[in-house]
């Protein structure tokens, strides 16, 4: 069976730096951080990390009430990002109902705010009678994908890979496979997530969050840095349009990149610890499937969340695969860790940067940690270099690794 080529023809995002790819890249190029001190979070006993990277929720009433009522905050982000991605791709909005366009949008959980509201309403009396009918739809694990599909009247495949921090990359991998196989002509792929003290709290109880910079929020997170002390949660949504390459060429679509390969695998080892060997396997297999040698790669956009263990494992894994010459950076210094949305938002930024001949730096990387040395860190200003081959990493709780390889024209 002849497998199709797959192009990325549209991008949409809501991130801590604003709505749209332009806001995202302008913010990154200006060295802006989306991290803030979160007012009111100190009311949560035991929550030590009081910083996060919020996105702005606005223009939500442009979504008609009947579509919006089942959307929690993250689904609104996803719907807006998806709508922007379709417009960016120059697709006829009516094509969404053709059955040839599907979506794969993942997240860690359903709407965190709605989940908390549900339990706060119901407990401690265990009284269900006060619950809104829409709470279930906002909380359900496939809420983002479902709501994107309903809002845009998508009649093709609707999938929701919920794989925590690897959700968006697994969504892109799914979309890539569906288009490659000819099951769909176009797939909207990405992820979404929203902030809540309990989301940060989930990482906080594991001692994985940044706690030393509550009074200097923009100094954290610090991926790969000697003084990093953990991750900072962020929110938003990123959606990319993956399309049959020949179809894209035929309709004169702008091609941001071609997806060359994708791989995902698991360490089978530990629910939270990163695993260097698994990361290495995943990067190598993705490259093999892409038909790309490590020496041909121009940029590795890292997962690196600024956790002590995760950054170390990933730096060592990157060194194992690529040596010390390929430029590496993480955009989580600017954006925080947008969890289920991270790979899509970060890939949008990375591809846009590469199109402009730039590799974006890791914000807050001032002194490379000795355990993360041995790779070519991009820090300070963007590296001006024309490159084509990008590797995007995502690693998640549960030992999940996912890697995408793209070629920018």
């Amino acid at each position: 069976m002849q497998l199709r080529r797959v192009a990325i023809t549209g991008m949409g995002s809501i991130s801590p730096l604003g709505r749209g790819t332009m806001a995202l890249t302008e913010g990154i190029e200006a060295g802006r951080s989306g991290v803030r001190y979160m007012e009111g979070w100190n009311q949560y006993t035991g929550l030590r990390s009081l910083v996060a990277a919020p996105a702005e929720l606005k223009d939500e009433k442009q979504i008609p009430r009947m579509a919006r009522r089942s959307m929690g905050r993250m689904s609104i982000f996803a719907a807006q990002a998806a709508q922007d991605a379709i417009a960016d791709a120059g697709l006829d909005p009516a094509f969404t109902s053709s059955g040839r366009l599907g979506c794969a949008v993942g997240s860690t959980t359903g709407s965190a705010i709605s989940l908390n509201q549900t339990f706060e309403t119901m407990l401690p009396d265990k009284d269900l009678s006060k619950l809104s009918s829409m709470m279930f739809f906002q909380c359900i694990s496939h809420t983002a994908s479902m709501n994107v599909a309903q809002y845009l009247r998508i009649n093709g495949m609707v999938m929701a890979p919920c794989a925590a921090c690897a959700s968006a990359l697994q969504a892109m991998g799914l979309g890539y496979d569906m288009v490659r196989l000819g099951r769909q002509d176009v797939m909207l792929c990405g992820g979404a997530e929203e902030l809540h003290p309990t989301v940060t709290g989930s990482f906080d109880v594991l001692f994985a969050t940044s706690v030393k910079y509550n009074d200097q929020p923009q100094k954290t997170p610090r991926p790969f840095d000697r003084d990093r002390d953990g991750l900072v949660c962020g929110e938003g949504s990123g959606i990319l349009v993956l399309e049959d390459y020949d179809r894209a060429v035929q309709r004169n679509a702008r091609i941001y990149a071609e997806v060359l390969g994708y791989y995902t695998c698991n360490s089978g080892d530990h629910v939270s610890e990163s695993n260097r060997a698994n990361m290495v396997t995943c990067m190598r297999e993705a490259l093999k499937l892409a038909g790309i040698e490590p020496s041909q790669v121009d940029y590795v956009n890292a997962h690196a969340t600024a956790t002590l263990q995760g950054d170390k494992e990933e730096a060592e894994a990157i060194h194992d695969v690529f040596g010390s010459s390929v430029p590496v950076s993480s955009l989580k210094g600017h954006l925080g860790h947008t969890l289920g949305a991270s790979a899509a938002i970060e890939l949008s930024a990375a591809l846009s940067g590469m199109q402009k001949g730039m590799i974006y730096p890791t914000l807050n990387l001032e002194n490379v940690s000795p355990e993360c040395a041995g790779i070519n860190h991009v820090a300070g200003s963007p590296l001006k270099r024309k490159g084509n081959i990008l590797v995007k990493n995502s690693f998640a709780f549960g030992g999940i690794s996912a890697v995408l390889v793209c070629r920018v024209p």
């Binding site: 009433k61 009430r65 009947m66 009522r69 009678s129 006060k130 619950l131 809104s132 009918s133």
Partner: protein, 87 residues
């Protein structure tokens, strides 16, 4: 509670929860055809009315007869009278 007070609270629910413009909130307005609510919205309508008026509506079969805003106003007034009699 007077009928005017009931009207004000019920209309406020429709404005805030269902985003119905105030000019559409005439007593004879039909909830499903005219104001655009559907069966999922009726769950939320019941929850909101129960909360605002401190009455129990969910299991009351008379809910099925409601078609217009005025039907809601009258129903609430009836429930309040029944509650007052019990106490």
């Amino acid at each position: 509670m007077t009928k005017e007070e009931v009207i004000k609270i019920v209309n406020n629910v429709f404005e805030e929860l269902f985003e119905v413009p105030p000019e559409k909130l005439a007593p004879e307005a039909r909830i499903f055809d005219g104001l655009g609510l559907d069966s999922l919205d009726t769950v939320d309508l019941i929850v909101a009315l129960q909360k605002r008026f401190k009455v129990q509506i969910r299991e009351d079969e008379r809910v099925r007869n409601i078609r217009t805003l005025n039907d809601i106003y009258e129903f609430i007034l009836t429930l309040e009278q029944e509650q007052a009699k019990k106490s």
